[in-house]
Symmetry: D2
Subunit: 274 residues, 4 copies
């Protein structure tokens, strides 16, 4: 694997700074928020709630890659406005997806971190475009991407000058269909061994089932991930997208509490190596 | 499946015209050419050869989506110039891949058909952009795309006003790794039943093995596909990409001969139904 | 791949004789019959019909491997009695599945060919047991078996002294779920290149969809398979198993006619090589 | 899913007793030992080591299902003798694989728990045979088995009268090939929700990579599994099978220590619910 900019040197990983939040320094970072920004009020209340319970970064989709052209496509710039307002109000950095290289400059002003979604993991023009910015990148693994494909996609970004990349394992497509995808947790230690980049896990898309979000997040923490990104919605039953996998505020509170307890346990354990 | 523009009406498929070539009218169309345009001479000699042996459309990559940023990325505009010259010289229409919505306008002047590659099958910005042009589109199935995902991607294009779309089955990712992908020929009759669009097959990428290109193309013809797209190179051993799966000129001659013989057989048989 | 008994020698395949029927001599053999033997009358009428329309071998399950213990498990010895009577009445050889090494001796007297099903492809005790008999074996590929696994399973049989094995590609498990399995037709020429054994295709299990049986069988013929095994039932809607994928008598008649026409075409073509 | 004997009643799981060891009572059980019993000395020293470091059950293969008939097939009865001697010497129960229904009676006298391997998960004769015994069963998930297939296989055993079954997630076949299989940890909470049976994880086969055994075991513990089964060998480099994935004695010591520490943490946490 020809990794020139993201390979591990001297067995040292790097950390990625998103405003004042650091991913990859041994901490376990929770990124939380709705699949889509649906209104000012919902993103604001979600930001407030997740921040108060321990999320470090707010997620929220404004440009939504949907399988069908007739599904809700996101509020676009309007959604970004709402997201930014929530971010400023709650003093929490935000990550949002960019799907088109032409949108990079516009979205730049609204977000603290660009997300590249699974469907665009090998959208090389987009990778290069965000690679030319100075913002951190959350790069999700493609549904059929091998670990090598995934790392080479990160290399595309880094080769343009931006190695502030956080990798995100979010499940691959397999024959099993009780879960939306098959979350490949073994990828986490492999990615961390092969590259210097931090690795987080998305148990919401990785399973598609609300009640699996907590156990799979605990597993992600145990396996050595640097964080998780989870979907939270004020009223999951009414969410415009990903209703089945979003946590309610109450569920997120329990979630964050259990994660934080295990995190403290691992803070000691991680000082050793495995 | 919410197909508004590409569903089958009155059990009738449509045909797609690429200059004077028609795909989907009961004929079996051969699209052939190199993975990448490497020089004026090679694309010209290839165009000449494949046209003389029965290819109806010339393929040739100028913008190449490569897993590694350090692999040959194509000759870009320069390659398109060469491709267009070959096209005009041999009076054969050309198809070439577009990877970036910003390139659509530029590439428009060089090609007779846009190709959307597997990695961009859910690059929705790109789909919409080509959907706003008046050029036919060759849409390849993504490596992890279900048949439904694939059809919804075509719907994205058609919803913008352009339903001149040819679907291309090119193999999906499975555990089997003797072949590069697993060519899903059953998808052909299913796609043709669910939508009105013509369907072709790519046995070169679908198998990754030169000697399987002919048998799998014969199978594609037998299963009811409207054509194939195959890689041909003057000197496969020295190809800058896809060396293992490209046919030599001599192999293409045998290929075209055998395909044409079976095609004549099926011209009668197809008048019936199965 | 350590193939000692089934590798190809001098580029020559072998043929396998089942009574007076030969698979692998350049002909394309049709094996047909119901998923399960359900009654004397139904297996007799099916035998009569498929034989008269061109099937060379009758299939019929008596010991049925079903996912659920509460699904119909087959008529067992009683079913074998019925199957043998139909075989004798219509003078057509029969193949039936054996699932348990202890049943080999009993089933031996009823069938002309043992079938090893997908779920038992790596039931090594069973493979060895049939390998010690002098009856031909129809070995189906496992749902997660690589081509190498498949050939090694055949080698288990052959190493016991019985190399009269016909391989059967019947689809592998993938993420695509419109079809029951993904029929991997590229496996046919690969298997025939790597081993001397004949290779047939099962489009009924390979797709799970009745109307795909003919097109995929034509494709199997085109790709170089030595035959197909298809499910036929007097009244598919009432079949106790595999109702969705069984052909009616009328459909089988059309099927056999179209296969035979293409077969004649390929008899010439096959004399060449591809 | 028609689960009559293994479904969850009143939201209560069951525990399975193997001699004096209980799996499924909230504890996290470590089963450890070599892939194959290779000699009296090696199995004895391994038994001694793993027991002293915290393994509750000894594993050791005597009848080995190998892809190739020319690979080491296990020491069979001789191996079982050695295994039993080690078991008695160290006072540790043993589990070993049975591959043939005819061997059940013989193996019965040597083992405290029967293992049904992945390749035999749908060997229904074998499932029924062990279902008629009074020994606990370790049932491994098949490589292409959906969660439903897996549970129905357990139901086959239970329907014969024996519901002392421990399910084992051991990885499924996917396109990713850095790891030997893709360990599907999300299956653990799903299996535990749908059935009353305890669920353990096999990170050795699930990843095929020694250094992933610990992190994936910690993840298995975090996700709610009732235990793990891991391969340990006195000299992994010289193991006759599965050399790449076996832990050395020293590695197992570290492994058990880290597992035990996290187990104590979860003992409290598990009293709550997630």
């Amino acid at each position: 694997m020809d990794l020139r900019y993201i390979s591990k040197e001297n067995n040292q990983g790097i950390s990625v700074k998103i405003k004042d939040i650091v991913i990859g320094n041994g901490d376990f970072t929770i990124i939380a928020g709705p699949c889509s920004v649906e209104s000012s009020e919902m993103i604001l209340s979600t930001a407030q709630h997740v921040k108060s319970k321990g999320a470090a970064i707010l997620r929220g989709g404004a440009f939504k890659p949907r399988t069908s052209p007739y599904a809700f496509q996101g509020l676009k710039e309007e959604g970004l406005d709402m997201l930014k307002a929530a971010s400023q109000n709650e003093n929490i950095p935000v990550v949002s997806e960019v799907m088109d290289p032409r949108d990079v400059a516009v979205i730049y002003d609204y977000v603290d971190m660009f997300q590249i979604g699974s469907r665009n993991m090998q959208n090389f023009s987009l990778l290069k475009e965000v690679g030319r910015t100075d913002k951190p990148i959350l790069l999700k693994r493609g549904m059929a991407a091998t670990i090598e494909d995934f790392l080479m996609a990160a290399e595309y970004i880094a080769a343009e000058g931006n190695d502030r990349i956080v990798l995100c394992e979010r499940g691959i497509r397999t024959f099993e269909n009780i879960t939306r995808n098959t979350l490949d947790l073994a990828a986490v230690p492999i990615l961390k061994k092969l590259s210097k980049l931090p690795v987080i896990v998305d148990p919401s898309h990785g399973t598609g089932i609300r009640e699996l979000v907590l156990p799979m997040s605990l597993a992600a923490l145990a396996v050595g991930a640097d964080g998780v990104i989870v979907e939270v919605h004020p009223d999951p039953a009414c969410a415009l997208s990903d209703a089945e996998q979003s946590l309610s505020f109450e569920q997120f509170e329990t979630f964050a509490e259990k994660i934080n307890r295990l995190k403290h346990y691992f803070e000691d354990m991680r000082k050793g190596s495995y």
